[in-house]
Every structure is written in C-alpha cells, then in structure tokens.
C-alpha cells in the first residue's frame, strides 16, 4: 500500500472527488495560484482549472456565505479556511446559516458544504491562530464535525464528507500534514461516525482524537514497556455523529477511562464524553473518569512552554498513571 503524507492524503481525496463530481468546487484563500498556504491543494489548479479551484480574497464571512448559498442550489463547495481559527469572523454564516437553514425551512433545504482547514496549537502562533473549535461547532445540531488523525483517515473521511448532504466541518492539523502513513490508492471511504481502535489493550481506555491520538499512542508504548499496563487507544475520528458504542465497548473491556483532547477543558468534547460514559456505563467503571486537556489559558506563544500547555506524550503518561492510581 502506498505510504503518503497526511497533506497528500487530503489532496488525493479532493482530486478524486473533483474528478468524480462536476459540482465539487474547491474555494479559499491561496488555494489556487499559491498552491495552498500549507500546500494541501498543490497542483489542483493546473489539473482542474480556475472554475473548480477558486482563490478568494481574505473575506471569510463573504466567501463562506457564498459557498453556503451556492450549496443550496446544488453546488458542493469544499471551502478551505487557512486556519479554523478564522471561523470567528464567519461565525454567523457557519453556525446560523449553514447549521440552521435546513431546520428553519422545515427540511426543504439542505446544505452540502464542507469547510476544512487546520485547527491546532503547537506552532507558536499565539492565541488568535490556535483555536480548536470542535466543541463549539459540535454544539450546533445540524452539523457534522470530523477530526482525522492519520493520513488514511484524512483521505477516507474527507471523501465521505464531500459526499455528505449535511454541512461537514473537517478539522485538520498543521502538525500532522507531514506525517506519513499507508493510504489505499483510489476509492477509500471511511464513513463518518465510526471510531477506530488504534491500539488494543485491556487495562485502560484512552478516548481521544486528532493529534492527541499520536501522543496517546506514544504514551501507551511507555505504559506497556515500563509499567506493564495494556492501553487501548480509541480514536473517535468523528465528533458528531459520535460512535459512542465503540466507547462503551472499550470501557466494558478496561473499566478505566482517560479522555485526551487538545481542547480547553470548560465544556469541551471531553466534558460531553465524561457525562455520557458515567450515565451509560457507570457500573463498568472501576474509578473516576480522568481527562487531559490543554492547560486552561489562551494559547501561549513561548515555544518550549506551549508544548507543556498542550497534551504531549509525557503529560498523557502522567495522566494515565493518575487514572489508574
């Protein structure tokens, strides 16, 4: 199986869907001539032309609104946000218009738009560029939220997202763009709402997603090697819809749960998960649910300190040991 980067995997998904469906349009800042701020869309303009690969001005509310309006008439726009952090200037378009239009029209309209781009800290760009809004987005019924951790998932989930008839918000990670992995060539589709056991184990379940999956896998290695603790790492892959059955299955196996997320702790994805686990698997738990989140402050710039603000293998290891104490 070919080994490619996460960045290439996203690009392959875009190219294959552009090829498959003439109504797919890729739109965003610097996606065409510049070949993408993070080179995700590199080469697409040359291959598909300016009608399909569209550069926009720095005007998120405007161009995302245009995408939403166009999607109501059957276009399937895949919008790139250079950073998901910029969603704040398009909040009304994303979460009033895209999220609500189906409901407010009594089901007469659907809005098959994908908004994708990186949402992560760890690149020393300060608080304005380091937002991780998956909890904010998923708080809005009507939308779907995807956070892939591996190249294969990035490709398979993006293809599903583009074919989906509901608005899908696809959160990538600049720290993962260069990560490599095996990715099936051609048609490789991962359904939304299906979690994946990235490592099987029996003593502890780490429920996680996005880049925190990599940190959790690194910590699980140490737990195995140095502490003889067998850790299951469950990658949610999609936040909404949520594959909670897989969470329950893993909890029933290990009886101990640590949630790891690159999220500020207050009302995070982990908050929701912890509520659901205690509500639906109380008798399976041998101890309180623990959570490791981003340290609760705006993203700090200072490069060595930012590493400690975010989940990292050392922090995950420590949190795992506390969970089992």
């Amino acid at each position: 199986m070919p080994v490619i980067t996460y960045r290439e995997a996203v690009r392959h998904a875009l190219a294959e869907e552009l090829e498959r469906d003439p109504n797919v349009v890729v739109m965003g800042e610097e996606v065409a001539q510049f070949n993408g701020a993070y080179k995700v869309t590199e080469g697409l303009l040359a291959r598909f032309g300016p009608q399909r690969i569209v550069d926009t001005p720095i005007s998120e509310a405007g161009f995302i609104g245009v995408g939403i309006g166009a999607s109501m008439l059957g276009i399937r726009p895949v919008m790139e946000l250079m950073f998901w952090s910029f969603y704040s200037v398009a909040f009304d378009q994303i979460l009033n218009n895209a999220a609500n239009v189906r409901y407010m029209s009594g089901g007469q309209i659907h809005c098959p738009i994908v908004i994708r781009g990186p949402a992560n800290g760890g690149t020393n760009v300060g608080a304005t560029h380091s937002h991780t809004p998956e909890n904010v987005l998923a708080n809005h019924p009507g939308v779907k939220v995807v956070v892939p951790s591996s190249p294969a998932d990035a490709k398979g989930l993006l293809k599903s997202a583009i074919r989906d008839n509901d608005p899908v918000f696809f959160l990538e990670n600049t720290m993962l763009y260069g990560e490599k992995g095996e990715v099936p060539a051609g048609e490789h589709v991962v359904p939304l709402g299906l979690a994946d056991v990235k490592r099987a184990g029996t003593d502890l379940t780490i429920v996680t997603y996005g880049r925190s999956v990599l940190h959790s896998l690194a910590a699980a290695e140490v737990l195995e090697r140095e502490h003889k603790i067998s850790t299951e790492v469950l990658d949610l892959r999609t936040i909404r819809p949520l594959d909670f059955d897989s969470v329950l299955k893993s909890v029933a196996k290990t009886h101990r749960v640590l949630i790891v997320e690159e999220q500020k702790p207050f009302a995070s994805v982990g908050s929701q998960l912890a509520y659901m686990i205690q509500r639906e698997a109380f008798d399976e738990l041998d101890g309180p649910i623990h959570r490791l989140a981003t340290v609760d402050a705006p993203a700090i710039y200072s490069p060595p300190v930012e590493v400690e603000q975010l989940p990292n293998p050392r922090r995950v290891l420590q949190a795992a040991l506390e969970t089992l104490a």
Binding site: V25, Q51, T56, P57, S59, A61, G62, F63, I64, G65, V66, G67, I68, G69, A70, S71, M72, L73, G74, I75, D92, Q93, N96, N97, V101, R102, Y103, M104, S105, G106, G107, Q108, I109, H110, P112, P141, G142, K144, S160, R163, D164, N165, D166, P191, L192, G193, L194, A195, T238, R240, P241, L242, D243, F244, D245, Q272, M276
Partner: protein
C-alpha cells in the same frame, strides 16, 4: 429625528411616467390587476396577522411590511425561471409576491405543523425553494453573502438568471454585506442587491446610522447602482428590469436602493413613539401609499373599476380570514417533531451513510 429624505425625494423632477417603460407598457390589464391584487393580499394578510398577534395567537416577533408592498411585488413580478430571491426577516411580502399561499404562511406564524416551515421557522424564516425563494433570514445582512452564492451557482451552472438579495437600510453597515459586494463584483456574479430603504434601522434613522449615501457605496466596488421610489410599483419594475437584465445578460451585479416606508414599528413589539412622529406616518399614508397610488393609476388607465377594486379588497380580507381559520384549526407540531429536519441523513435513513449518534441528551 425624522426620516432622511433621499436624493430622489429632495429633487423632484418632472414626473416620469414609468407606466410607459417597456416592461410596464407591455403588461396586460389582467397582469396589472394581478400586481394590484398581490399588494392588497399582502396588506390584508399582515393586518390579519397583527390581529392574531394582538390576540396572542402568534409568538416572538412580527415584522410587518405594510407600506412597502410595491417593492416586493414589483421586483418579484419580474422573475423568470432562473431568478432567485433571498431576504431578511421582514419577509411576508416577498413570500406572497413569489407566489406562496397564505394558509401555510399564516399557519407558520401560529407555530402550526401546517406552516410553510412546519412551525419551525416562524415569521422571520419563510422559505419556498420550489418558488426560488430562499428565506427569510434573521440576522441583519447575514443573507446577503448567500444571495451572492445563489448567483455563483447560476453562473457555475451556466444558467441565465439572476439573484435578488434584499436587505433593509440598516444592513448596509454590516461587514457581510460589503464582503458580498466585493465578491460579486470581483467575480461578476449575477446578483442585484436591493436595499429597501424605509428610513429606519429599527429605531435609528438613516441620518443617525449611516455615513454618506447608501446605494452609492456600490460605486466603491465598481458596481452599477440605481435609486428609485418604492411607492410606485411601475417605477420599481422599470428600475429593476434594467438591473436584472444587466445581471442576466452580462453577469454583472448591481445595487438598487428603493425608497419606501413602513407604517408599523420595526416589529410589533416596537412602541414606535420614540424616533418618529405620528404626523410623519400619516403623511406617508396619505400621500404615498403604494396601494392607493397604484389603485388610482389603474382606475385612471381604465384597467380597474371601483367595483373590482372593492371586490379584490373583499376577497383579500376573506383570504386572510380563511388563512387564520386554517391556522387556528391546524395542529401544533409535536415534541417528536423537534428533532426532525435537523439532518438530511436523519430524515433520509435509507440513504444514510454515516454511523453513530447524531443527537444527544
């Protein structure tokens, strides 16, 4: 503070007879009467809805269009098969103008399952994609990028049509509107931005909210623009025909500011006594009522007789009563309906591709 006179009002010119504009001259008497009938139907529908609101049959807000009827009717009467409409929360007039039936419109106000949005949208959120009507949007200016998006889709598909994106005079100060202007002009999107200038953004007059002129802002985006009176349905049609044709034929966007006036408050919850005078309202009612003006014109033209005018009015009142009775008799949605029409996939389970939980408790 009173309504700021527009350039149009301050410099009265020899009255152009807009009835002679080709788009109006070719109207048959029946078509003229139909324009009149739509305006009357909108007014009677809204008056009836106001009574229902006062009787506490309707919740939330009710933003009435009374006084502005010639704008929606004039604009929407020009729609071809590939023309589309989107507007803000003062949307009853546009809904009737595009041909929606009044029973589901009234039932929506009553919050009934038979409403045009099944009781899920309310007054501000009417939609009918089958009539190219895309809402009904609650946030000032938020619908304008969507209007540009409808035009984008028309252009992408190679369809000869135009989108009309309506907003009030207050919306022109919103950033989303300016972003949409820029994109529409930059990309040559066939959209006409229509500013329905009724002089007040809620309780703040134009003079207190907007620097400079409104339509002229389009020039900064290299867009053509026009201004006209919204009290004369012929004038609305003449002006809009020009810019809709520009959009359909050349793909070029434009902005049209239509001077109009609302007799009622911003919403019916608005006491309407802090920012304008009763005399001002009465003056508009007496001298520039769009229905009265058009009725006078049609009588003078001979297209309408006093008896027919009376009959149309009686029928419109009866239609509004029937709509209210229908709404009264209709069932409310059930609590089970709260969670339908949220996700396309949940509503089409046979075609669902995703897995996992879509809803949470």
């Amino acid at each position: 503070m009173s309504k700021k006179p527009t350039a149009k009002e301050t410099t009265p010119t020899a009255a152009t007879d807009h009835a002679q504009a080709p788009v109006n001259a070719r109207l048959t008497p029946e078509e003229r009467i139909e324009l009149f009938r739509k305006m009357v139907r909108i007014r009677r529908f809204e008056e009836r809805s106001l009574r229902a609101y006062q009787a506490k049959k309707i919740g939330g807000f009710l933003h009435l269009y009374i006084g502005q009827e010639a704008v929606a009717v004039g604009c929407c009467s020009l729609m071809g098969p590939h023309d589309h409409v989107i507007t803000a929360y003062r949307d009853h007039g546009h809904a009737i103008a595009v041909g929606m039936e009044t029973k589901p419109l009234m039932a929506e106000l009553y919050g009934k399952a038979t409403g045009c949005s099944k009781g899920k949208g309310g007054s501000m959120h009417y939609f009918d994609p089958s009539r190219n009507f895309w809402g009904g949007h609650g946030i000032v200016g938020g619908q304008i990028p969507l209007g540009a998006g409808l035009a984008y889709a028309l252009k992408y598909k190679g369809l000869k049509g135009a989108a009309m994106a309506f907003m009030g005079d207050g919306a022109v100060n919103q950033g989303a509107v300016h972003e949409a202007y820029n994109l529409a002009s930059l990309w040559n999107l066939p959209v006409v931005f229509v500013i329905e200038n009724n002089g007040y953004s809620m309780g703040t007059s134009q003079a207190r909210s907007s620097a400079g002129e409104l339509a002229q802002r389009a020039a900064g985006y290299d867009m053509q623009w026009g201004q006209c009176s919204g009290h004369d349905v012929y004038e609305v049609r003449a002006m809009m025909d020009k810019f809709l044709t520009l959009a359909r034929e050349t793909g070029k966007p434009s902005t049209v500011e239509i001077d109009t006036y609302r007799y009622r408050g911003h919403s019916v919850a608005d006491p309407d006594n802090t920012y304008r005078s009763k005399q001002e309202i009465e003056e508009y009612r007496r001298t520039r009522d769009p229905i009265q003006l058009f009725q006078d014109k049609l009588l003078a033209e001979g297209a309408l007789t006093p008896a027919l005018a009376e009959q149309i009015d009686t029928e419109a009142r009866a239609e509004a009563d029937v709509a209210a009775d229908f709404s009264e008799a209709s069932p409310f949605p059930t609590p089970a309906d709260i969670q339908t029409d949220v996700y396309w996939e949940a509503d089409n389970p046979a075609d669902r591709r995703s897995q996992g939980r879509l809803f949470f408790t």
